[in-house]
Symmetry: D2
Subunit: 313 residues, 4 copies
C-alpha cells in the first residue's frame, strides 16, 4: 500500500470520553501518515511548580483531553485496527508531573478509600534538553522515551471516561505504546473512531504517583484495517516481541487477562497447542505493570517472537 502525504489532525475541542456518540473530527485513509496534535493530560493548566493541582485544575471539570474521534476509512465492526506509531514529537520544551490529592499508587484514593488526610500536593517541571528530561530539584536527567498514555477506539454502546483503560485500549499508560510499535485494537464502530492523547515524555512501570512526564505533542501514526480477524483486548507488536494488555482490578485479574490473551494469540496465529503455549509463557514470558493507578490496572504480558518460529504456520 502506497504511503500518502501526511494528514494533520488539529482539534478545535477535545473529548474527555471514548464515545461512539461523538462526530468524527477527521476522516483518514489506511496507509496514510496521520499527524495528530495532542494536549497534555491537564490541558496545559499546569506550567510551573506553583500551579498546584487544587488551584490549577479547579476550573477543569474533566481531565485527560483526547484528540478524536478519527474515522478510519474501511473499518467495520468485527475488524481489527492496527495503529503503527511512527513518531512522537514534543510541541513544548518541558514536561510536568505532580501529586494530586487522593490519586496515585501510594495513597488512598476514591476507590481504595480511607479516612486519612491526603499527601501534600507538589509539582515537578522537567525541562526537555538534548534528548533528556532534566529536573533541578532531583538533580537528574532521564532519557526522552515518549509514548502515548492513551490510545483507544470507541467502545460498543458505552462511552467511557478518558481516564479508563479497557478492552478498547484507552488510558493504559503502557510504555510500549511507543514509536516503532504497532498497537492492535478491536473495532466496534464504523470507522473505528480512534482517539489518542496523554503523551508521556517518559514513565516508569506502574506510573507510581499517577502522573507521568506529561507533555503536549504531535504523534504520527499509520492505520491499517485487518479484515477477518477478531481480538478481545489490545495487543502490541514490537520488532522482537508480542505483547498483550489486560486491564482490570484486582491486579491479578489484569495479569490473567493479559496472559490468557497471549496464550490465545499463540494458538490462533502460530499454531501452538494450548498447553504448550501455557508452558512457553511460564518459562519465557514477560509480565510488567503498566499502570497501578488508573480506574483499572494495566498489565503487559509478552513473549519474544524468536521463540514462536517452530509452530508458525
Amino acid at each position: 500500500m502506497a504511503v500518502k502525504a501526511p494528514v494533520e489532525v488539529i482539534p478545535e475541542t477535545y473529548s474527555y470520553v471514548f464515545s461512539p456518540y461523538r462526530e468524527p473530527i477527521a476522516r483518514v485513509g489506511q496507509g496514510q501518515r496521520v499527524v495528530i496534535h495532542c494536549e497534555d493530560a491537564f490541558e496545559s493548566r499546569i506550567r510551573s511548580a506553583d500551579d498546584l493541582p487544587s488551584r490549577a485544575l479547579a476550573g477543569a471539570k474533566f481531565l485527560n483531553p483526547q484528540t478524536g474521534p478519527i474515522y478510519v476509512e474501511g473499518a467495520e465492526p468485527g475488524d481489527v485496527l492496527a495503529v503503527r506509531i511512527e513518531e512522537i514529537t514534543p510541541t513544548r520544551d518541558f514536561a510536568v508531573s505532580c501529586l494530586i490529592p487522593f490519586f496515585g499508587g501510594l495513597t488512598s484514593t476514591s476507590i481504595t478509600r480511607t479516612l486519612q488526610p491526603s499527601l501534600p500536593e507538589k509539582v515537578w517541571i522537567w525541562r526537555l534538553e538534548q534528548g533528556n528530561l532534566v529536573n533541578d530539584e532531583l538533580e537528574l536527567a532521564l532519557p526522552w522515551q515518549p509514548f502515548m498514555g492513551t490510545l483507544a477506539v470507541a467502545p460498543d454502546l458505552e462511552a467511557i471516561t478518558a481516564l479508563s483503560p479497557g478492552p478498547f485500549g484507552g488510558n493504559m499508560d503502557v510504555p510500549d505504546v511507543s514509536p516503532g510499535n504497532t498497537i492492535y485494537l478491536p473495532v466496534w464502530n464504523e470507522g473505528a473512531l480512534f482517539y489518542t492523547g496523554d503523551t508521556h515524555a517518559r514513565q516508569g512501570q506502574g506510573e507510581l504517583c499517577g502522573v507521568a512526564l506529561e507533555i503536549t505533542s504531535k504523534v504520527t501514526v499509520v492505520f491499517t484495517v485487518i479484515k477477518g480477524r477478531s481480538i478481545s483486548w489490545p495487543r502490541i507488536e514490537s520488532a522482537d516481541r508480542l505483547m498483550t494488555v489486560g486491564s482490570a482490578r484486582p491486579m491479578e485479574d489484569a495479569a490473567r487477562i493479559a496472559y490468557a490473551e497471549l496464550v490465545g494469540w499463540l494458538e490462533t496465529d502460530f499454531g501452538w497447542q494450548r498447553e504448550n503455549a501455557y508452558q512457553l509463557l511460564t518459562q519465557a514470558g514477560g509480565l510488567y505493570v503498566g499502570n497501578m493507578v488508573d480506574t483499572t490496572y494495566s498489565l503487559v504480558a509478552s513473549v519474544e517472537k524468536r521463540y514462536l518460529r517452530p509452530g508458525e504456520p
Copy 2:
C-alpha cells in the same frame, strides 16, 4: 574480609517449612563460601513425561523441600542478612515442569475457588544441553538462567510453609534471586536460620503455570551480617539496580509494598526526600511480577543505581 575455604551443606532430610523451631543442620561463618545442595520442588519424584503429578506426588505429604536451617554466626534479631549468590550448578541434566490440578495462574485454585473441573495434567522434561534447556515437544531451546525460587530466613514466632513468600523471603519465585546478586533479608532469630531450595533453571515473569524449570542444584552463597540496620521486606542488589520484593494478595498490595519499601530505601540510604523518591520511581521505576501463582504474589520494584548518585550520602 578474607574468603575462607568453601563449606558444603549436604542435608540428610529436608524442611518443608521456614521454622524457628528446627535445629540448624549446619553452622557457617560470615564471608565463607557455602555450597548448599538442594533438591527440586518435587523431591525428584517427577523424572519423565509419564510421572503425572497425581500419581508421582501421591506419596508426598508436602512439597518444596528446603535445605536448612543454616545458622549464620553473628546474626542476631534486628540485623540484616546479606546473601550473595555466587554460583548455581545443576546436579542433573534435565529440568521438569508440569501442570498440577488446581494450581497455577490460569486455573481456579484452592484460594480462587470455582466449581469447574481442573485442567488436564501434563509433564514437560527439558534437557540441559550446552547452556540451553531443550524441549522436543515445543521444539525449543531456552537459555540456562538459573535462580533460587526459594530463599528465606526463619520468621519470628511463626513457622511458614515453604510454599509461601513473605517478609522473610521464602518462595518468592523472583528471577533476580540469581548469581551475581545480593539478597538482603531481615533477621528475627539468633543465627538468622537460613533456608534455600526450589532451584529454577529458568522462569518467565509470573511463573505462569506455577511450575518453573525445576532442577536439583548446588548453590554457592556468601553470607554477611549487617549490624545497625533494619529492613522489613527482602531487598535485592544487582550490579546496576536496587530491587525490593513485596508479597501479598491482591497483587496491587504487593506492588504497593515493593514500591513503598523502595521509597524508604532511597530515603534512608541515599538521602532522598520522600516526595522526590516517589517522583523518581514514577518516571524511572521498574515493576514486574515474580510470581502470580503462590500463596501470595511477589512483585519486584526496582530503580537503576546510576539515578541515585545525586543524593547519595
Copy 3:
C-alpha cells in the same frame, strides 16, 4: 406534597446502557406515583428449562434491558434524587434463573480468566404461587421478596452498560432496593435521567450464580428531588436502617467505599464526630454482599437508626 394520580411508563424499546445521550421516554413530576413497566434481564427470551442461554440468547446483542431514561422534573446536577419504591407487581407467573457460561460467582469469567472449560448450562423455572416461588426440581418453595436489581441515574459524561453498578446506582443487585425503602442517587444531568429494570422475585446475598429469580414487573415509585445536598454513592433508607452501597473490585474496596460513605453520612447529617462514627460502625455496623458477580461487586454497609439519636441535629 400531595400525591397525584399514577403515571404509567410503558416503554416501546429498552436501553442497554445508562446514558446521558438518550432522549427521555417520559417526564414525571415529583411526588407522583409512577408505574414503570420492566422487562426481565433476558428480555423474556428464556421461558422454559429448554431455553439454554447459548441458544436462547444467541440473538441478543445486549442483556439487561432498562426502562428509561425517565426525566424527573426539577432535578438538576448536584441534587440528590430520592426514589421511594412503593410496590413491585409481577407481570407473569414465573421467574427464571440459569447458568450462563463463564458468568457467576463460582466460575472463571471474562474478567477472572482461566483456561478451564465452562460449567454446563442449565435453566431453572420457578412458578409464582401464593406468595412463593416454587421449583419442582429443588422441591422447594421460597418466599416472594422482590426488588429491583437495577436502578440508576445517567452518569456524568459516560454511558455505562446496564450490566454495571457504580456511583450512579445501576446493576447493584442489592436486595434492599425493595418496596418500602428509599434509594438516594446523585444527580448529574437535568431531569436526573432515571432508569430501572432487572426485577428479581428474590435473591440471596451475593447473587451467587449471577442470575437471580428474574421476572417481568410493574414497579411503582415516587420521586423527590433534594436540593442543597450532595452525595457520591447510592444510599438506601429503610424503616429502621441507613445503608450505603459501594461497588468496586477487589471486594474490599467496595467494603471501604460503603463504610466510608456511611461514616460521612453520620458526620454530615447526624453530627457525629468522625472517630466516633468509625467506632459505632465497628461495634454495630452491618456489611453484606449484594453481588459478587457483576462488573464490580456491590457491598452494603448499614447501621440501625435507633443508634443515631444521640447526635442527631
Copy 4:
C-alpha cells in the same frame, strides 16, 4: 454421652501462635464441659482512655494471647472437631476498643501500604451494665452479644500467628462464633490442639476499625470428635442455619471459598446435586463480612436449614 463435671483451664502463660509445636496446657475428654479462661487481645494493657496503644502496647512483642493448646482426647488427624460454645461470661466489667496506627478497615496498613500519615490514636472504654455496653462519649448503649474472636486448632506443619484466620479457624472475628452455636474445625494433629481467645463483648460486621469490644472472659465449651468425616474450612451450625467461613485476600476469594464449601456441604451431607445447591444459594444464601481488617478477610456464607429438608439423607 454423659456430660461430666466442668474442667477449668486457667493458663499460666499464653500463646501468640497457633502451633503444633507447643505442649498442651490441658487434656480434656469429649462431652465434658470445659471452662476456658481468656485474656483480652491486648493482654489487659489497655484499661482507660489514656492508655493509647503506642504507649500501652510498647512492651508487647505480640498481641492476641490465646489459651491453649488444649488436647482433646480421641482427636486424630483427618477427624473433625466439633466445638459447642455453651456460654461466655465476662471476667471484668468493661470492654475496650481503640484506633491503632495503620491498622483497621479505613486506613492504609502494613499490607495496603501508602505514604500517608496514620489516623490519630484513640481509646474507647465501654462499661458493662445490665446486659449492655455503655459508652459515655457516644452516649450509647449497645447489647451484650459476646463471641470468640479467635478459635482454632493447630495447623498442619505450620505455626501461624494468632492474628491470622485460616482453614484452621483462628482470628476469624465472626460474630456467629457465639453461645449456642457449634463450630466444626479440621483436625491435623493428635488431640486437635485447640486454642481460643480474643473474646468480643460485641462487634459489627467487618470489625471496621480492627478492634471490637475486647474483654476478658471465661468461655464454656464442649468438644466432640467426629470420625470418618473430613472438612477443609471452618463450619458453623446454629439452631436454624448452616454457615461456612472462608478467609482470604482479596475479599472475593474469601467469598468464593465460603460459598464453594457450602455447596460441598449440601452435596456431601444433604444429597444435593451440585448445580441445584448452586441455585439454592443463589436465591437464598446469606453472605456477610466477618472481618475486613485481619491478615486475611473472613466471609460467612449461610443457608437456612429448613430449605435443606427435601434432599436430606
